[in-house]
């Protein structure tokens, strides 16, 4: 097995606090919420598992009995969200079946393409990485239904996420809890809005 200290990026002489700090930074970086909807999510999860195991191993090695205070803060549960045609599409999107959702969306005639259609299309496009077209769809949805919070959130989340990324001066360390939420908010603007609540802190 690989040296757990090496995985955490600390020397074996590091203090408990240093180890905790290193663990916390790594855990934030590879937290599943950061990779929600990412095609490499499973690799991030593996990495997270490795880090957790390394941390546990180090702590077991050191504390020998004084457990409890060193519990990990980053266990997580995967959230699931559930939801005419649009609710069917929402269901497909929330279960990650984007290409099916896209086919149904495209089959809807031009005349029936309302604000909701543009919003959902935007979700599917952004999932595919067509961010420019996705933004146009979100803008369209907001234009057609300016009062709708959900559509507005779809657009804002994407903009906020990117401006947040661009202005973040740090590559690794400075990952505040709120940052995690931004990642979450963005990835989840696709699915979460469909379920209801947006994350309250962002």
């Amino acid at each position: 097995m690989t040296d757990p200290y090496k995985i955490l990026g600390v020397s074996s002489g590091a203090t408990d606090d240093e180890i905790k700090k290193a663990y916390r930074e790594l855990a934030r970086k590879y937290h599943p919420d950061n990779y929600a909807g990412d095609p490499l999510a499973d690799l991030a999860q593996e990495k997270m598992k490795e880090i957790n195991e390394a941390y546990d191993a180090v702590m077991r090695d050191r504390a020998k009995g004084t457990t409890g205070a060193n519990g990990r803060a980053y266990d997580y549960n995967e959230n699931r969200y559930s939801g005419g045609v649009f609710s069917r599409i929402r269901q497909l999107i929330s279960t990650g079946r984007f290409s099916e959702a896209d086919i149904i969306l495209d089959s809807i005639s031009q005349a029936d393409r309302n604000a909701e259609w543009f919003f959902l299309k935007g979700c599917v496009l952004s999932k595919r990485g067509w961010y420019n077209d996705a933004q146009k769809c979100f803008e369209n949805a907001c234009y057609m239904d300016p009062a709708n919070q959900e559509y507005r959130a779809g657009l804002d989340n994407m903009r906020n996420y990117s401006s947040r990324f661009a202005s973040s001066s740090s590559g690794s360390g400075e990952c505040t809890p709120c940052n995690v939420c931004y990642g979450l908010a963005c990835a989840d603007c696709l699915c979460e809005c469909l379920g209801g609540d947006l994350i309250s802190c962002c």
């Binding site: 990026g9 590879y30 991030a44 067509w130 961010y131 420019n132 990117s162 990324f165 661009a166 690794s172």
Partner: protein
């Protein structure tokens, strides 16, 4: 590929910057050996990025020596000695130069077309040198064909960028047998390709309109278009950053370079392409900003 994927040097550690330059020199020299000295002229940052990613994916430790080269005869420089990643990147450079040239001959008009035709014999020569990658060559050819078909149909920039992303996804991941590493390379290539393609169409928009050439973004960009495009470009950069984080570890010497490129270099390039160079912070502002990495 046109040099959009580069580090932001002011916020790089000196050792990382030295390492990066050593890769650059090593790649330049390798291209000279593999494909001929003329081919070295077209070297861009993007291929250095490719080499760095391939090194981070590989197992071998980098070997750097002080060497002289005829481009800079006065002083010995740090140079990464020829390795697998450099060889691969130099052949890819030859291949993509060839396809870029074919594309120019087909699309350009006027003087640019004549220049492209004059370069063609050299480009064909590079193509021959890249024989060892004939399987990759086939994939690039297919992707280039569907790209020009999409461009003819007037597809959206995102649609075209997706195809170019797939092309680079092949380039980044070709020949990697480890499944996890291959997937990381594929994703990295995807984001990189989309970013490069979109930067390139933004850069070309004025020129294309003047020459009557096709541009998927239309004839001009207003402020809304630019804002939207900025968000898109940065989304691709952030996707790349997340992918590269999976590659980075304390014992991977390339980590700092890769993260600098995705977190600092690319957002900066995006703004430069869209809003011009002067909008970026001055050096003094840089010194006052938070630089923790």
């Amino acid at each position: 590929m046109f040099g959009y994927i580069k580090p932001y040097f002011p916020q790089m550690l000196v050792c990382e910057s030295e390492y990066y330059k050593a890769v650059y020199c090593g790649l330049c020299k390798t291209i000279g050996k593999k494909c001929g000295n003329l081919c070295r002229m077209g070297l861009s940052y993007d291929f250095v990025f490719l080499a760095v990613v391939r090194m981070a994916l590989g197992e071998n430790k980098p070997l750097i020596k002080k060497r002289r080269c005829f481009v800079h005869p006065m002083k010995k420089r740090n140079m990464l000695l020829q390795n697998e990643a450099l060889e691969y990147s130099s052949l890819c450079h030859a291949l993509l130069t060839y396809y870029k040239n074919l594309d120019d001959i087909a699309d350009k008009k006027g003087a640019a077309k004549i220049v492209a035709k004059l370069i063609y014999p050299f480009a064909r020569h590079y193509h021959k040198k890249a024989k060892p990658l004939f399987e990759l060559d086939k994939e690039i050819k297919e992707n280039m064909a569907s790209l020009s078909r999409l461009e003819c149909e007037g597809a959206s920039a995102d649609a075209c960028a997706e195809v170019f992303g797939d092309l680079l996804s092949c380039v980044f991941s070709f020949g990697i047998s480890d499944e996890k590493k291959r997937r990381i390379a594929q994703e990295a290539g995807k984001s990189t390709g989309r970013f490069i393609y979109l930067c390139d169409v933004c850069d070309d928009i004025k020129k294309d309109a003047a020459n009557g050439e096709f541009n998927p973004l239309g004839e001009m960009m207003n402020d809304d278009d630019k804002k939207r495009m900025e968000t898109s470009l940065i989304m691709h950069a952030s996707n790349l950053a997340r992918t590269l984080e999976l590659l980075c570890a304390p014992d991977v010497p390339e980590s700092g370079i890769l993260l600098n490129i995705a977190y600092k270099g690319m957002p900066r390039v995006a703004r430069e392409v869209l809003f011009g160079k002067e909008t970026n912070d001055s050096l003094t502002e840089e010194l006052q900003s938070d630089r923790s990495l």
